[in-house]
């Protein structure tokens, strides 16, 4: 119900904008302004398409001109060589755009950060040279006087404006649908912390592919309409650097990762630059580029995520000034299934045999073997650099083991991708919590439930249940950016719990917490174990761990040094040597 109410507001805004725009189009008679009214929506659509990929996932694309150009040329070539009307040509272009998305996305997604951006740059430039070579230097669209409407050619410019607005509305609706759905949330999770998203069960590659396919289709549609409106296509105008840059700037300036951003950006920048170009273009050619360039620089320095967010954050901050005092965290609900505590199955749920991992010459994990019984709390301890996190990364699937076996509830884990492993029932929390600062706690947690639920109501229910388990249910609607360190860790835990795991891997959950906060965390963890959860924790805070863990596995230099109960371990010579130093016992013995 809440979700539906939230949808009406943006839909209303879209409708108003659309009608106002068309209304404006009806009034304006100056052909130059008519062109402007047509171009702004087209570039807004381009910006939206860029947003769909780069704004939401954080993978910056410098090459959206590739899709734009392919869309433009599909429409053009279809019309010129096969006499196919743009009414069909544009959808055809969208198909080409989608395919291009797959072809480009699959290899390029293996890259990160700057490599991705640079590679994306290469595609439109390569296409530019190819099309020049093919001879498509300048292709005018032929006039079809016999059936203009059929070929999307109208003498009345206002129809073009309406078409452009129509495309804009469709793109806005698509963006809205993506943003408000699992799609958008998954992409945001990927942007925020890709490993965590993967470990929470989100198939990051699949979502990225879907994003680029959709993005490619929308950009191609923009390109197709551009061709129809301008009636001439050159490789440089559609594949050129300025096109990619415009897509990027429009979204960046207006607001990254939101459907309003490109609209705002286009509405401000396109008229500005086109007017400057028209007024000063003869005297100062290239003024358009300079304006864009300065706009980008200013945006990056002053409002790195775009105007929309800057304004919204400012508004929210002034609102939050009078917010209610923080409600204390409710104690966790110690819901205990009857009999579960006592009749805990002591069969091993996780069996690690002889796994090893080396990085070049560095042997990070050496032939480690141990078992974890169902429902146990096991602590993994050892000096810094002993290989504990590497071990977790091996269990989770982030690293491929060089050898050995890991069997979880009868399934072999080695070779599976992290999101697969998550689906099998292993949850993971990370040392560094990366929340979505602008979203509510509930929305932060719900991504963890995507792997195990098929629809949103179930996902939100699982998220709420997880929040109840950690005692944060009272803060479900709080904005994550304002949480304390302890609450962030509890939220991270809830996200892992939302996937209803059987085994939980926790990496230094107590780091940076004060004594009382540590106690609170221990209560939560114990409650989880009492409900039947198996917990494996990496930690350094021995004072807490001796009271929490039922067994310790001690790692040193990548090898298992000792396994046993806390009281044995802390008196173990080897452990004392690894942790306290060999001389300690001697000194103590001497008194």
């Amino acid at each position: 119900m809440r979700a539906r109410r939230k949808l009406i507001a943006p839909l209303l805004v879209i409708a108003i904008v659309a009608m106002a725009w068309i209304g404006l189009g009806m009034i304006v008679t100056n052909s130059y302004y008519q062109l402007m009214l047509t171009l702004v929506p087209i570039w807004a659509v381009m910006g939206l398409s860029w947003n769909l990929l780069s704004g939401y996932t954080g993978l910056i694309s410098f090459g959206h001109a590739a899709f734009f150009g392919l869309g433009a040329y599909t429409v053009t070539i279809a019309l010129v060589q096969f006499d196919i009307t743009p009414w069909i040509g544009i959808p055809l272009g969208m198909v080409v755009g989608t395919v291009a998305g797959i072809v480009i996305g699959y290899p390029t997604f293996r890259l990160r950060g700057h490599y991705f951006a640079l590679s994306m740059l290469a595609y439109p430039m390569a296409l530019l040279y190819v099309f020049v070579w093919l001879g498509y230097q300048e292709v005018p669209l032929p006039m079809k006087r016999e059936a203009p409407g059929f070929y999307m050619q109208f003498s009345d410019y206002r129809v073009y404006i309406a078409l452009a607005v129509g495309l804009l509305v469709v793109s806005l609706l698509i963006s809205l649908a993506v943003e408000r759905s699992r799609f958008g949330m998954s992409l945001t999770a990927i942007k925020q912390n890709e490993p965590a998203a993967e470990a929470a069960g989100i198939d990051t590659l699949a979502w990225k592919m879907r994003a680029i396919m959709l993005s490619g289709a929308v950009a191609a549609a923009a390109g197709g309409l551009y061709a129809v409106v301008l009636l001439v296509v050159t490789p440089d105008s559609v594949f050129g650097m300025l096109t990619s840059a415009q897509a990027l700037i429009v979204a960046l300036f207006g607001g990254v990762g939101t459907l309003w951003g490109p609209l705002i950006g286009a509405a401000i920048l396109i008229p500005l630059s086109e007017t400057l170009q028209a007024q000063l273009g003869d005297v100062i050619p290239g003024i358009q580029g300079v304006v864009y360039g300065i706009a980008i620089i200013l945006v990056v320095l002053l409002a790195p995520e775009g105007i929309f967010w800057r304004v919204r954050d400012r508004l929210q901050r002034s609102q939050a000034a009078g917010a209610a005092p923080m409600t204390p965290v409710a104690p966790p609900i110690a819901a205990l299934a009857p009999g579960q505590a006592s009749s805990r199955n002591r069969r091993p749920i996780l069996a690690v045999s002889g796994i090893s991992k080396s990085f070049g010459g560095l042997r990070a994990v050496v032939n480690a073997s141990f078992e974890v019984a169902d429902g146990e709390i096991v602590g993994i301890i050892g000096p810094n650099g002993a290989g504990k996190t590497t071990l977790f990364n091996l269990l989770n699937g982030f690293l491929a083991a060089d050898g050995g076996k890991v069997v979880f509830a009868g399934r072999e884990l080695i070779g599976l991708k992290p999101n697969r492993i998550c689906r099998l029932g292993i949850g993971r929390t990370f040392q560094v919590v990366r929340a979505f600062p602008r979203l509510s706690v509930l929305n932060n947690v719900v991504v963890g439930a995507y792997a195990t639920t098929t629809n949103d109501p179930d996902a939100f229910a699982a998220a709420s249940a997880a929040l109840a388990q950690v005692g944060l249910i009272g803060r479900s609607d709080a904005i994550a950016g304002g949480l304390t360190n302890k609450e962030l860790r509890l939220m991270e835990l809830a996200r892992a719990l939302a996937g209803r795991p059987r085994l939980l891997l926790m990496d230094e959950p107590l780091a940076g917490l004060a004594s009382q906060e540590i106690e609170d965390m221990l209560v939560v963890i114990r409650a989880l174990a009492a409900q039947g959860m198996t917990v494996v924790i990496i930690e350094h805070t021995m004072r807490a761990m001796v009271r929490l863990a039922e067994r310790f596995v001690v790692l040193d230099h990548g090898a298992i040094l000792a396994v046993g109960q806390p009281s044995e371990i802390i008196n173990d010579e080897g452990v004392i040597e690894a942790y306290l130093g060999k001389k300690w016992a001697a000194i103590r013995a001497r008194g």
Partner: protein, 320 residues
């Protein structure tokens, strides 16, 4: 026999051209290599500094005719070399006021987001420079003509009296100068105290601070050097190639391809990477039409990045 002979002649011609052009590309890539490979700063505007180097040389030598006392041959090359210090100053100032806002310690905490901002900022810079150049310099292609531009050395091929290789003199000299400058830079970076300081700052900024090195200043100097070197390469290109304000874009991918091919963090690698790209470009004309030679580079770039991202000389430490 003759068709094989012809093929060999064409092949050798392309090879020689590739080596000469490769040397110049190598110098360009070294400039970018210092910035991208060592400092890990993405400078999208590198091609524009190449362009500025070209125009600086042009105005110095042709426009304002300030080096005419050196004669028509030495003048242009001196002009190209002078572009180095001039653009060094530009780079230094730019880094101080613009680039440093999105690099270094201030963004060290934000994972990966520093790169995003660098990409965008330098993209904006590139647009300003490109179009500013268009406004200031006009769109007419210019070139720095020297008496060498139209002449070539003829190297007869031994096996056939009629066949010979032509070495365009301007290109050849430019290539040689490139190598000399690259060697000088190599000496500076690897042997001099300044060079070691720069390398230390790039290797581990925190540790460098502990040593007492002013890391901010080191970054500025490194950035300035990177820009200056690329500008020199630009000035050299200007002696045999016509140019206009948008030319930077053609070279950006070449430079990045060269640096990535050579391996990040390796200046020597950047040079060899640039050389390889030059060879690829020229040799590709044997099998592809000339218009596609740049497309071939893009394909090579994509292949490298996907198959061996650490390049030929880099260490495989770019762990995901």
């Amino acid at each position: 026999m003759t068709s094989l002979g012809t093929f060999i002649e064409i092949f050798l011609q392309a090879l020689i051209a590739g080596i000469l052009i490769g040397a110049i590309y190598g110098l360009m890539c070294v400039g970018l290599g210092i910035i991208f490979g060592v400092m890990r700063v993405i400078n999208f505007a590198q091609g524009e500094f190449l362009m500025l180097g070209m125009y600086f040389t042009f105005y110095l030598v042709v426009g304002f005719n300030m080096l005419s006392f050196l004669g028509p041959v030495v003048g242009p090359y001196t002009g190209a070399l002078l572009a180095g210090p001039a653009l060094f100053a530009v780079g230094y100032v730019l880094h101080r006021f613009l680039i440093s806002r999105v690099t270094g310690v201030s963004v060290a905490g934000t994972e990966g987001e520093g790169h995003y901002a660098q990409l965008i900022l330098t993209l904006g810079l590139a647009l300003v420079l490109q179009n500013g150049g268009l406004i200031l310099f006009g769109s007419t292609p210019q070139s720095v003509r020297t008496p060498l531009s139209a002449r070539a050395w003829e190297i007869p091929l031994l096996y056939d009296a009629n066949a010979s290789l032509f070495l365009n003199k301007a290109r050849a000299v430019a290539g040689v100068v490139s190598v000399v400058v690259a060697v000088a830079l190599y000496w500076l970076i690897n042997r001099s105290r300044l060079g070691k300081t720069l390398r230390a700052a790039a290797d581990n900024a925190a540790a460098a601070i502990y040593m007492g090195i002013d890391v901010d200043r080191a970054y500025r100097i490194a950035f300035g050097i990177g820009i200056g070197i690329t500008a020199i390469a630009g000035g050299l290109v200007a002696t045999y190639n016509p140019f206009q304000p948008y030319i930077g874009l053609d070279f950006v991918i070449i430079m990045y391809a060269g640096v990535v091919l050579g391996g990040m963090g390796s200046i020597l690698g950047a040079f060899w990477g640039g050389m390889t790209i030059g060879l690829v470009q020229q040799l590709s004309t044997l099998v592809l039409p000339t218009q596609l030679q740049n497309a071939a580079i893009f394909v090579v770039f994509l292949l490298i990045v996907m198959v061996r991202p650490q390049g030929l000389f880099g260490r495989a430490t770019e762990r995901v």
